[in-house]
């Protein structure tokens, strides 16, 4: 975030606060002696454009992320899941995500799915995410803010999406080639495709030491 961007934001009315739904799972919650909290591994915070919000990640994601030794969390932004609706567009949702991120005990990886990718992209412009992961991104601005702290960025899209305009915009914005996963972009929360996707993200994170 540039100084000028901060000055602008500090002089703009902040979005109305909402009580956010927040789901989390820690390695210790697995009651598995073989799985230890890895102090070197950054926690992960997820969000999705899916109206279910945080609870979408309960079926598979949070537990599987925790299995890799990471604190795993998800948040519902305003109007999703059990978080009340409130005014504000993309910016307000990015604010909700940043507010959730600072609540995570340590510097967090931000994972955004569909429209959630746009919130994550904006949030990473004002919060130094440990890494930024955009899954089947939608509505990511052509020129997203430069992520603060220079985190590694990963874009993952379904095979069927590789030619889509949304995916292309995001890839161009960050100047990286998306990784592809087998399956559909609406099938990311459970099933074999979802497991493959998640494992790809986790091994990328491990390779970046984040």
């Amino acid at each position: 975030m540039s100084l000028a961007a901060w000055v602008r934001r500090a002089r703009t009315p902040a979005p109305a606060p909402v009580k956010r739904e927040y789901a989390f799972f820690e390695p210790a919650d697995l009651f598995d002696l073989d799985i230890k909290d890895d102090p070197e591994a950054s926690p992960v915070l997820c969000c999705t454009g899916d109206p279910a919000g945080a609870s979408a990640f309960n079926a598979l994601w949070l537990k599987r992320i925790a299995t890799s030794g990471r604190y795993a969390a998800a948040v519902s932004v305003r109007g999703q899941g059990n978080t009340p609706a409130a005014e504000g567009g993309l910016e307000a949702r990015a604010h909700d995500l940043v507010q959730a991120a600072v609540n995570v005990p340590r510097q967090a990886v931000l994972i955004g799915h569909k429209e959630g990718a746009a919130w994550a992209a904006l949030a990473a412009g004002r919060y130094p995410a440990a890494a930024l992961v955009l899954v089947s991104p939608e509505k990511v601005p052509k020129q997203p803010p430069t992520p603060v702290g220079g985190p590694p960025v990963l874009i993952v899209v379904a095979e069927s999406e590789t030619q889509s305009k949304e995916a292309q915009t995001a890839a161009d914005a960050y100047g990286i080639t998306p990784l592809t996963f087998a399956g559909s972009r609406d099938d990311v929360f459970k099933g074999a495709g979802a497991e493959g996707l998640l494992d790809a993200i986790l091994s990328w994170l491990a390779s970046k030491k984040d």
Binding site: M1, K19, V102, R106, Y127
Partner: protein, 450 residues
């Protein structure tokens, strides 16, 4: 780290030393690490958070200290405070916040507590040898660093006035930083001296807790309520900063009209227009002056036994005198010359309020009084310092040009004193200083010309 002998200095290579683990030191450690530096931070106390931690031996907190700057203007730009906190968080929330910041960014593992830095000595050109004062019975440790950032704060060494007869005064005298227990005010006739934020806050505490409260100030000051036009005052005023200049003055005057006429009615106003001088931000003070629970007086002339006389001839017999006369900057670890301190003045003369005029690898964080939230300013200062250290290593030519720019920024700055009392040496106009920081950062972040 391993044990060091007192003779041989342990060489920490390219690592940077940060002195102090208050808000400024913590922000420095985080921003240096984010830019790839190894960092060792030394804190003389056993706790982090600096003056916001009541366990810090030098903490100046007094009963019921709350922020005078609002949450959105005080929080660190890349780590906002929880948005369900009040507009003006308490000192203990501030500590919770700084503790969470340190934990979030894993700063604690880089902090050495109980480690006072007693000296830093330039060695090998641009490097520093840092001397850690020995803990009981041990030898002093010496380590070498590529750079040093001083973040030792300037609100821990009381500025004590002298008055004839003060030494023999028969009542109790405390500096504002020593008033920890509000029960000390109960039932007492209290005299508060000093018209800054501490003086106004403590006078308000005395107004409701003490038997009586007299507030002595030697001149008027600029008073602001905590809210203006339905918004936190600092936010409301900062927003006007983005308006065109001719409108800004008009809108500012309109916003301040009510508080200004109230201040005039109460006889507390400073002469002239509100300046860059730090305002007293207190919503309760005027109410207490208005209902007589705070009585305003001019300057104290002398103390005599149990009595105090004022310059206008009035007298009183206080049980407790609170000297809310502020602080003096004090640097115990750095040779004054390196900070541009000359003559009798305790105030450094730095480039852009942060860079040593003598050593390229020495900088100070947080040595400004911007009249607005300090933490965001320190964030941008340390962002600039970290980038400067990178540029200095990687691109000597750009580094040389940059030094020239910083020097000229500093000359503009000193041309414009931001206040009238000696203590205003550290005052800056936030708008002007941020713009200058912005230019500095832009230069440092430009892609090197190929």
């Amino acid at each position: 780290m391993q044990e060091y002998s007192s003779q041989a200095a342990y060489d920490r290579g390219e690592a940077v030393c940060v002195i102090g683990a208050g808000a400024s030191g913590l922000i420095a450690v985080k921003n240096l690490r984010e830019n790839g530096f190894e960092v060792d931070c030394y804190e003389r106390d056993t706790v982090l958070g600096g003056l916001w931690n009541p366990q810090n031996q030098h903490s100046p907190l007094y009963p019921n200290t709350h922020l005078v700057t609002s949450r959105s203007q005080t929080e660190i730009p890349d780590f906002p405070m929880p948005d369900d906190w009040p507009d003006y968080p308490s000192a203990s929330q501030m500590l919770t916040y700084l503790t969470a910041y340190a934990k979030h960014f894993g700063l604690s593992e880089h902090i050495w507590y109980g480690s006072e830095i007693s000296a830093i000595e330039p060695v090998e050109g641009s490097r520093f040898e840092v001397v850690v004062k020995p803990a009981a019975g041990n030898a002093a440790r010496r380590l070498r660093y590529a750079a040093v950032i001083v973040a030792t704060g300037h609100h821990w060494s009381p500025n004590l006035p002298s008055y004839p007869g003060l030494d023999q005064f028969r009542g109790s005298v405390l500096h504002s930083s020593q008033l920890k227990d509000p029960s000390r005010l109960r039932g007492k006739h209290v005299l508060v001296i000093g018209g800054g934020n501490s003086g106004a806050d403590i006078a308000c505490e005395a107004a409701v807790n003490a038997a009586s409260c007299v507030h002595s100030v030697r001149r008027g000051s600029w008073h602001l309520p905590k809210y203006l036009g339905g918004e936190p005052a600092d936010y409301a005023l900062a927003r006007l900063g983005s308006r065109p200049k001719f409108l800004r003055r008009f809108l500012t005057d309109r916003l301040l009209k009510g508080p200004a006429s109230l201040a005039a009615r109460m006889g507390v106003a400073a002469e002239g227009r509100p300046s860059a001088e730090e305002p007293v931000r207190n919503g309760r003070y005027m109410e207490h002056v208005g209902d007589g629970s705070i009585q305003r007086r001019g300057e104290v002339a002398r103390f005599d036994g149990f009595d105090v006389s004022f310059a206008d001839g009035a007298e009183m017999r206080p049980d407790l005198v609170v000297l809310a006369t502020g602080y003096r900057p004090k640097f115990t670890s750095v040779e004054p010359r390196l900070l541009g301190i000359e003559g009798d003045s305790p105030y450094p003369k730095l480039y852009a309020r942060m860079f040593s005029p003598r050593m390229e690898t020495l900088a100070v964080a947080g040595l400004v009084e911007p009249g607005v939230g300090v933490l965001p300013i320190v964030h941008w200062q340390t962002h600039a310092i970290a980038h400067w250290l990178l540029v200095r290593k990687s691109d000597p030519e750009r580094a040389a040009n940059f030094r020239v720019q910083v020097r000229s920024e500093s000359e503009q700055d000193t041309a414009r004193p931001a206040g009238s009392s000696p203590r205003h040496q550290l005052a800056v106009d936030a708008e002007v200083y941020l713009a200058s920081l912005g230019r500095i950062i832009d230069t440092l972040e430009q892609e090197p010309a190929k």
